[in-house]
């Protein structure tokens, strides 16, 4: 595991466990929370709500021109129409990468992120380096993800300052004509739907 603040301040760790245990105990005794509900929520985020939800939306947009148009028009409505996903809340907005414009999503003020599409945000998304620099030096941020865009590609940064939530539709990789949904799903990474990555190349699928 990479360095995490917990490890830099290891003395905090045990007190944190105790504090959270105390909060849970008090709130359970008062009837405010239910430990079994907490287990269920944790399990949902660990096993059910993750970037595969968003990837299915992206792949459908790649395969179905009408769906893509509907998605760009009203993403909450279009995603709800897919049925096989759990309900998605309002205010989801899909933005499409093209050869002329690359989209990048950030929340400079806190950690707003399309949980229902991508699961919980990674630590870097919530970190000071990303939040401070994405709006000012997006190309250098992208370089830290090994993404280098041609100089004439415009970059559009979306700062999620309200309850709107943004999902990037990455460009479909070349050489994937005729691929089926499962094959295409393997190319859609979480980062490609935040804008800090691109969809994988067709040759990278199994790597």
């Amino acid at each position: 595991m990479k360095t995490h603040d917990d490890h830099d301040h290891g003395s905090d760790l045990s007190p944190m466990q105790l504090r959270v245990k105390a909060i849970e105990t008090i709130l359970t005794e008062k009837g405010y929370v239910d430990p079994e509900t907490l287990d269920t929520i944790i399990d949902a985020y660990e096993t059910k709500i993750g970037p595969r939800n968003g990837a299915r939306v992206v792949v459908r947009a790649w395969l179905d021109r009408a769906f893509k148009a509907a998605l760009l028009e009203d993403a909450s409505k279009a995603v709800a129409s897919l049925g096989y996903l759990s309900r998605v809340g309002d205010h989801l907005i899909a933005v499409e990468n093209t050869s002329k414009q690359h989209n990048l999503v950030v929340c400079t003020l806190c950690s707003c992120y399309p949980w229902e599409m991508l699961g919980l945000p990674p630590t870097w998304y919530k970190s000071a380096p990303y939040r401070s620099r994405a709006v000012k030096h997006p190309r250098s941020v992208l370089a830290e993800f090994n993404v280098y865009l041609p100089g004439d590609v415009k970059i559009r940064v979306w700062d999620s300052t309200a309850e709107t939530r943004y999902l990037v539709i990455p460009m479909r990789p070349l050489g994937t004509e005729g691929w089926n949904e499962d094959q295409l799903l393997s190319l859609v990474t979480r980062d490609s739907m935040i804008g800090t990555g691109l969809a994988l190349n067709s040759g990278d699928r199994n790597s």
Binding site: K2, H4, D6, L13, Q17, V20, K21, A22, I23, E24, T25, I26, L27, E29, K30, G31, Y32, V33, D34, T37, L38, D39, T40, I41, I42, A44, E46, S86, V88, D90, H91, T108, L109, C110, L120, W124, A128, P129, R131, S132, R133, V135, K136, P138, V141, E144, F145, D152, K154, I155, R156, V157, W158, D159, S160, T161, A162, E163, T164, R165
Partner: protein
Amino acid sequence: MNGIHDMGGMDGFGPVEPEQNEPTFHEAWEGRILAIQRSLVYGGAWHIDSSRFALESLPPQTYLRSTYYQRWVHAIENNLIANGYVSRDELQSGHAVTVTPPLKRKLTPDIVRAGLTRASFYRQEQASRLFRPGDRVRTKNIHPITHTRLPRYARDKVGTIESCHGCHLYPDSVAKGAGDDPQWLYTVVFEGRELWGENADPTIRVSIDAFQPYLELADDRL
């Protein structure tokens, strides 16, 4: 408030360091505090914007020294006390001793799926919509000491209305306990140079989602 949370455009935090194969939670207590927060907000203990304001109100030293979920622990403790659900003594002792107000509803395992779906933030409009796509607007030079969603880097800047997302509850009012106070919400896009000066990358544009009270028509003749 002009807090440490408002980081857009700050320098000196170093490179972004993605962690390969990052687990959902690094420690078990992180999942517990997240689930507690979800349960409390579902129960109506306080609004999500009050959670955000509690995080922003942490001393900057604490904010920067803490991990993401450590901040949540601090903020939840503060909100539990401030809202009268838990006393400081109870937090010390680790057990409930006082009788406190019930929550409006309780999240139970059978309804977790529905409970984790985001609520709608749409509200009935209270004022007329002032701006249309293409309008040039200037963000106001405001510095409230309370919660706001207008970041510092985007204050007193000229941008263009790109779209309108309807009328939403207004975080600045909600976090003060002043009700939903619905306001029109727009995406406003700025050229990089408007935000960061002449040396900015000319190929970048940045948008924020801005509530109508943050905006006024720009007078481009000046």
